[in-house]
């Protein structure tokens, strides 16, 4: 029973990792841009949700609002600053986004203090689900269902719509997209905002589960990297499989070996890289 509990926890956690990794992957695919500020957008999403619920907003308003604000801020940063540095070597992408992540982290500490806080489960989902002798928090069950629907929508958006075709076309050849008459600058801004918004949404959904604290962004960034490395960059299915795998491994290990649970994520990654350098489903 405890394992079923942990596997469910792991699936919920893994879906959040998936959202983070897909955002990172989409940004990298289209812009060839290494975004070390991705964790900072996750952090911001979580803190905005915390702040809005503290101000009396319902979680159901706070979550989409936080996501939109993060996406807006990210799009603004892209339009003002980041598009200037795409042509520079990766070193400078990393320098700028590490700098941005520091700025966001410090602003969060200035605005909300260094200690963090907790976000209550939203109205209507504060109870537990009881099935025989199995008890599970409603909110966690909701995140699994919600993110599953979201994952389906994302897949449809990226693979089945004209918008997705534009994004994929842009990642194949930006020059051809520009020749076809698309405003690649505006597409870049929108996609960056979209990817960052996914990170913000993951933060907003994570807030009632794990609370908020100023350094949660770094942990999220490195887990997103692990997922992308294991699953293969630019692969939607890879991000989904790897995200779920990492989440479930981490959760189940919490029961078997609590101190080493997070260590096992990285040991698992090292094993995958040693055996399959391209990742599970990677193309490049």
């Amino acid at each position: 029973m405890i394992y079923l509990f942990q596997v469910l926890n792991g699936i919920g956690l893994g879906m959040l990792y998936f959202l983070l990794a897909v955002g990172l992957s989409v940004i990298f695919g289209l812009l060839q841009f290494v975004n070390f500020a991705h964790g900072a957008f996750y952090l911001l999403g979580a803190y905005l949700t915390y702040d809005l619920t503290m101000r009396g907003f319902s979680f159901w308003a706070a979550m989409p609002l936080a996501t939109l604000i993060v996406a807006g801020i990210a799009a603004l940063i892209e339009a003002v600053l980041l598009h200037r540095i795409y042509k520079l070597p990766h070193t400078f992408h990393i320098l700028v986004t590490v700098g941005l992540a520091l700025v966001v982290q410090e602003l969060v500490i200035i605005a909300w203090g260094p200690l963090g806080g907790s976000v209550p489960a939203p109205d209507g989902l504060q109870g537990v689900v009881i099935l025989g002798d199995f008890i599970y928090p409603q909110y966690r069950l909701f995140t699994i269902g919600f993110t599953a629907v979201l994952a389906g929508l994302l897949w449809w958006l990226l693979e089945g719509t004209r918008l997705g075709a534009i994004v994929r076309g842009g990642s194949e050849s930006p020059a051809n997209m520009a020749l076809l008459g698309y405003n690649t600058l505006r597409i870049n801004t929108a996609v960056f905002g979209f990817g960052a918004g996914l990170a913000g949404l993951a933060g907003a959904l994570a807030a009632p589960i794990r609370g908020v604290e100023p350094f949660m962004g770094i942990e999220a960034l490195s887990v997103a990297f692990v997922v992308v490395v294991i699953g293969g960059m630019g692969s939607y299915t890879g991000a989904l499989v790897a995200g779920l795998l990492v989440g479930v491994v981490q959760s189940v290990m919490t029961t078997l070996w609590p101190e080493g649970a997070r260590l096992m994520i990285y040991v698992g990654m090292a094993l995958v890289i040693a055996l399959m350098p391209r990742g599970l489903l990677g193309r490049a």
Partner: protein, 323 residues
């Protein structure tokens, strides 16, 4: 080539730094820290500037050196030269392992892997707290003693570190000037071509990793003896980030640029952190500024200044052609 980039000029600048720091700084501890990080950052530069490998995992090796010193000196009182040698060997071995796994992927994946490995080693240190002291670290790491007297005053330990620094810096200059170092540059410029000529490029990259890891762990051991603790923070993500930031700020085209990067960062940190605890906000803005306007780092600034003063006939805007 700018005369300042010549090996003897680099070495002279390093010697000058060692002599000048005590004249301008009141704190021997800060001066010692600058020298320790200067060699660690130069080792990172061997990977970034000379091999084209952007390693986000230098904190791993720094932390390992720290723990070697912490464990050997607090539990078994191993002689210091042996500790430093042991740190360097273990650092080289770990760097070879991490390098071997990471260079299986290239470009951005390589960077992400090194970052993930830095998290792996952080959690190893955090999880096995019986060995590493976990969150508390290992307390009471003694200073080394020379001729029977412990180097307990800041400036006497500074002298010890200064000798180490000059030796390590000279070693790194020699490495970059050697055929080996030239081959690394060839790999950075065009790995496919270097491989086609017949160089085993992966082996060369691993060797660069090993040297870099040895120096970094050596610096980590010196750092533990400086602050008297082997803290968990030395193996954290932040240490890796710190070393990389110093390297890029200093400029990756010269080893002495790394000394400038370490000095600039630590002096800035020292000045600002007392004034404003949230000074990292300003650091973030500095990083953005460097990427936009100072892509050759502080060393690029020095080169431009040199050209302006000594070679007026040349237009200062055209940077000296590399190689």
């Amino acid at each position: 080539m700018n005369p300042l980039d010549k090996p003897y000029a680099q070495l002279a600048l390093a010697l000058l730094t060692v002599l000048v720091l005590p004249l301008f700084l009141k704190s021997g501890i800060l001066a010692t820290e600058i020298l320790i990080f200067a060699m660690v950052v130069a080792a990172c530069n061997l990977l970034l500037g000379y091999t084209g490998l952007l390693s986000f995992g230098q904190g791993i090796f720094f932390g390992i050196g720290t723990y070697v010193a912490g464990i050997c000196l607090t539990r078994w009182s191993v002689p210091v030269p042996l500790v430093l040698a042991g740190a360097a060997v273990l650092g080289a071995a770990t760097a070879t392992l991490v390098g071997w796994l990471s260079i299986r992927r290239q470009g951005v994946y390589f960077v992400m892997l090194t970052l993930a490995f830095s998290q792996l080693f952080y959690f190893v240190a955090y999880t096995f707290s019986g060995v590493t002291g976990g969150d508390n670290g290992l307390l009471g790491v003694p200073r080394p003693s020379v001729g029977g007297t412990a180097l307990n005053s800041p400036w006497s330990y500074y002298t010890f570190v200064a000798v180490c620094f000059v030796a390590v810096f000279a070693l790194l200059v020699m490495v970059t000037q050697s055929t080996f170092g030239r081959t690394l540059l060839a790999i950075r410029e065009n790995e496919g071509r270097a491989a086609a000529i017949g160089f085993p490029t992966k082996l060369f990259k691993l060797e660069a990793f090993a040297i870099s890891g040895a120096v970094t762990a050596f610096g980590g051991a010196l750092h533990a003896m400086l602050i008297g603790v082997a803290p968990l923070s030395n193996i954290e993500y932040h240490t890796s980030e710190l070393i990389l930031i110093m390297t890029i700020i200093g400029g990756s085209s010269s080893l002495f640029g790394s000394v400038l990067g370490a000095g600039f960062y630590l002096l800035l940190a020292d000045a600002l952190s007392t004034v404003w605890p949230r000074w990292l906000l300003l650091l973030g803005l500095v990083l953005v500024t460097v990427a936009l306007f100072l892509q050759r780092g502080l060393w690029g600034l020095v080169e431009r200044g040199y050209d302006l003063v000594f070679r007026r006939e040349r237009a200062p805007e055209t940077p000296a052609e590399e190689h």
